[in-house]
């Protein structure tokens, strides 16, 4: 192997994990039809959006950032090679990888998350997406070298994206030629010019870069936002307050989340101001704000979970805390409590501000919006994301790994639930198998319409996460898993819990649903038998019959079991000419009637 290949391989390897995940999402979206994937399809679409707007900048950030992450910047820069050559090799590795994913994603849909209709973008969304990607990729080395960590670089890059978007919006408004073709060309030209300048800044920064910290890896905190120190008084530890000091430490660990929340609030106010500009309808601004808040909330919730443990694992302060005379359970509860509260604040505060400034115009983006500004929904949404991030932080070492693992873990859990739901759906068609279960365990008495789980099935995820809750406590007390097999083992346990809990919850529901069907068929067969014998029905009042009286020849075996000892009442339905009401009172007291419709009610007093 030639020396340049060895070096190129080294540059490609750290990007491979994220890149492969992005490619997988793209291929699955192309190869597997929507109907097969069900809810997972929506998750993948969300994954593709996150992949394009966050994943690809992350790949670009990792190119330089992995040297900080692994503490190898001094090793690389101490080698006898011109820094310009190192810079070139990094780009040779990076560019094809980013271009390939971008091409794949553009193939799977050109919208790329732009509210195409609201913007009348039509075919231009893809071009704008590519311009943004060029800017994000070209700027990534500069922001990574400024932030000196992968996460800092990524956050700075995303903030840059938001600021540029704001400038674009206001520049269009100020120039007064909103959405005209010339405006579109100006945006493209300005974007590429800006990307070139940032690329030059990145190059200069790299060539003159000084390794003034040790080789210690740090995701966020060690070299960080210097502004954080201004608020450090709030986070200062006090003597004799061990529990509060733990809380302060946790709040400090979530510094990036607070920063994102502040940016989100400011961003909402800036975007909301657009509603007063000519050409901007409230609906359009609502879509913008909702999309912005949803994406920042998604990032904040994942970071809230993954930062807390990820940072402590990276800086090895976790094992140091294990030696403190304070119980692990207490530390775990404080950590989890602050994470969930932090994620909720980070998600709810921008929504509250958005609701205040936009009102009813706030749209529902990507099906993940804020139905009626329901705080409970936001709490559940942020809790699921942040808790999954926290679980990942307990499992693996480092914030980046934990954050990257969060969405795939959620997709796997949902996929596990989906598999069971599909299986139970299949069971309906395997009537013999399900009927034997129904006839053995049929859930009589029941009342009302026996329903399937409906939309509530999406919240089945709460059960495996509850299992993961216990598991995270155990993981919290141990060292991070470095080997893939250990990670997979813990992951399979949670996915297994998802499968079991989905089965436990949905199987009785399926049995109940099938029991209702069989009851319906039974009563219908009785009703048909009654109608075949019109002479049996008196003109006035009603008559009580047994199954033997009706002597139904083709009564199914399941109906025979369900209708055993049932009493059949027949009477004239005076509202309909020659109408009949057939009622069946089952042995357990449930009474079902069949006339123009089907209804069941329990016997009074039972």
């Amino acid at each position: 192997m030639s020396v340049s290949v060895v070096r190129l391989e080294k540059e490609v390897r750290p990007l491979m994990g994220v890149w492969a995940a992005l490619i997988l999402i793209g291929f699955v979206l192309i190869a597997i039809p929507k109907g097969v994937l069900g809810f997972s399809w929506d998750a993948l679409l969300l994954g593709r959006l996150a992949g394009f707007w966050i994943g690809l900048p992350l790949v670009a950030t990792l190119s330089m950032g992995h040297e900080f992450h692994y503490g190898t910047a001094p090793l690389l820069l101490a080698q006898p090679m011109d820094r310009r050559q190192i810079w070139r090799e990094k780009w040779i590795a990076l560019l094809p990888m980013v271009a390939f994913v971008a091409f794949l994603y553009l193939l799977t849909g050109r919208g790329l998350g732009f509210p195409v209709d609201a913007y009348h973008l039509d075919g231009k969304a893809g071009v704008l997406g590519v311009v943004w990607l060029i800017i994000a990729t070209a700027s990534a080395p500069f922001w990574t070298l400024v932030g000196r960590s992968v996460l800092n670089g990524l956050v700075l890059n995303l903030i840059q994206g938001f600021v540029l978007f704001q400038i674009w919006q206001w520049a269009e408004f100020a120039a007064g030629y909103l959405l005209r073709p010339e405006a579109f060309l100006v945006v493209i030209f300005a974007g590429i010019a800006y990307a070139s300048i940032m690329l030059w800044f990145g190059y200069r920064k790299f060539v003159r870069f000084e390794v003034d910290t040790g080789s210690m890896s740090a995701d966020v905190l060690i070299p960080g936002f210097k502004g954080a120190d201004r608020f450090s008084g709030i986070f200062l530890s006090r003597p004799n307050q061990p529990l509060l000091n733990l809380v302060r430490k946790e709040l400090r660990l979530l510094w990036v989340v607070w920063l994102l929340t502040a940016i989100s609030v400011v961003g909402v106010i800036c975007l909301a101001a657009l509603q007063f500009a000519p050409g901007y309808s409230l609906d359009r601004v609502g879509i913008l704000v909702a999309g912005f808040v949803a994406s920042i909330s998604l990032l904040s919730s994942i970071l809230a979970g993954s930062l807390s443990m990820g940072e402590e694992r990276s800086t090895t302060t976790r094992s140091w805390h294990q030696t403190l005379p304070i119980s692990a359970a207490r530390q775990w509860i404080v950590k989890l409590g602050v994470v969930l509260a932090g994620a909720f604040i980070a998600a709810a505060l921008p929504v509250a501000v958005a609701t205040l400034v936009i009102g009813k115009g706030l749209a529902v983006p990507y099906g993940l919006g804020f139905p009626n500004q329901n705080l409970l929904f936001i709490l559940l949404f942020s809790s699921i994301l942040s808790f999954t991030g926290f679980w990942c932080g307990c499992l693996v070492k480092g914030t980046i790994r934990a954050a990257l693992l969060t969405l795939p873990v959620l997709v796997l859990i949902f996929a596990g639930i989906r598999v069971i739901l599909n299986l139970i759906y299949v069971l309906h068609f395997m009537a013999n198998l399900l009927d034997s279960l129904v006839l053995r365990f049929h859930p009589f008495p029941f009342s009302g319409e026996p329903g399937y789980l409906g939309p509530a099935r999406n919240w089945l995820i709460a059960l495996p996460l509850h299992f993961a809750d216990f598991q995270s406590y155990r993981l919290f007390q141990t060292d991070a898993h470095e080997r893939l097999v250990h990670v997979l083992r813990s992951l399979f346990r949670v996915v297994g819990a998802a499968i079991v809990s989905a089965a436990v919850v949905t199987l009785p529901s399926a049995i109940q649903s099938r029991a209702a069907q069989l009851s319906f068929y039974g009563v219908m067969q009785v009703d048909e038998a009654v109608r075949r014998m019109p002479n049996l029905i008196p003109a006035e009042g009603g008559i009580q019959l047994t199954l033997q009286d009706l002597s139904i020849p083709d009564l199914s075996p399941s109906s025979r079991v369900i209708l055993r000892d049932a009493v059949v009442s027949v009477e004239r339905d005076r509202r309909v000419r020659r109408g009949v009401v057939t009622s069946v009172r089952f042995r357990n007291g449930l009474s079902c009637s069949f006339a123009r419709g089907w209804s069941c009610k329990p016997e009074p007093g039972k």
């Binding site: 001094p74 090679m81 890896s217």
Partner: protein
């Protein structure tokens, strides 16, 4: 570079981190070819900052840094192609095996001695197929040492190289590896080692600089230092007489015994002591570590 020109020539080097945290202040350093030069100092003395300036990992804010007669900033690649470096905190790419790491680092070099690589791997009992992520701190340092020596550089920069090594490997490293490195091309291979484990390098060091608070406190050749810094033990038959001990760095009295540490001026002091006809009188050279401790004590006073 002419033969008389120092391999490392640092003049008036100043480097400040952030606002006011001065790491190195006006440092002067000259390392002649073929020598083993020690940079001694407590934690935070500025040793690592100095070495990073030699490697252009940090840019001097004042003064000049020349290595092999070349500017360490302008001729960065030329300088680095002739030196090997072992950092204080060793980090490798965790997905690479030891062998892959060597292959990767060798890709930057014109020359890489495979025989040395195999020999040192065997001496340190390292498995080349193991991932660097699973190596202990000491093993990572061993890999870094091998990687620094295999290109057979003219200058070896060692920043706290023995921290994390067990005593057996540490001795092996100092006595054999460093010795073998210098013996490979006597008179031309230079070592600049920064450490506070001075005793370990006692026999190897030719010249040293003691740093404190970013400044040079003492620069001496090791032999000259041992001549100058002496420990005098005197035992008198009666009580200790009145003596002029102003020349002594340290004075310790125990009954009829007197222990003195002197920095130069030893013969005059000995002559004065002998006038009082002591029961016994011994002198011995201080170790480099004792010199280091005494130099910094004087500095603190």
């Amino acid at each position: 570079m002419s033969s008389s020109e120092p391999v490392v020539n640092v003049e008036n080097l100043t480097y400040t981190y952030g606002r006011g945290a001065e790491a190195v202040h006006g440092l002067n350093l000259k390392v002649q070819p073929g020598r083993c030069y020690g940079l001694f100092g407590r934690n935070g003395a500025g040793k690592t900052t100095t070495i990073k300036c030699l490697l252009n990992l940090l840019r001097p804010q004042k003064g000049s840094v020349r290595v092999f007669g070349l500017d360490a900033v302008k001729d960065e690649t030329a300088v680095k192609s002739r030196l090997g470096y072992v950092p204080d905190q060793v980090a490798f790419y965790p997905w690479m095996s030891v062998q892959e790491t060597f292959d990767y680092l060798a890709s930057f070099r014109d020359h890489w001695n495979k025989e040395i690589e195999r020999g040192l791997l065997s001496r340190f009992q390292l498995d080349a197929s193991r991932k660097t992520a699973v190596l202990s701190k000491g093993q990572r340092t061993q890999v870094a040492l091998i990687a620094a020596i295999c290109p057979e550089p003219d200058l070896l920069l060692l920043d706290e190289p023995t921290s994390g090594l067990d005593p057996i490997v540490r001795r092996e490293f100092i006595e054999t590896v460093i010795g073998a490195y210098q013996d490979g091309n006597p008179g031309n291979r230079t070592i600049l080692v920064s450490t506070h484990l001075i005793t370990e390098f006692e026999g190897l060091i030719d010249e040293f600089t003691i740093m404190d608070g970013g400044r040079s406190v003492l620069t001496l050749e090791a032999d000259a230092a041992r001549d100058r810094y002496q420990k005098i033990r005197v035992r008198f038959t009666d009580a200790i007489p009145e003596l002029n001990l102003e020349a002594a760095l340290r004075v310790q009295r125990r009954g009829r015994e007197l222990e003195l540490v002197v920095n130069g001026g030893g013969p005059e002091l000995l002559a004065r002591i002998q006038q009082h006809d002591p029961e016994s009188l011994t002198t011995e050279a201080l170790t480099l570590e004792e010199i280091f401790v005494n130099a910094l004590k004087v500095q603190a006073v």
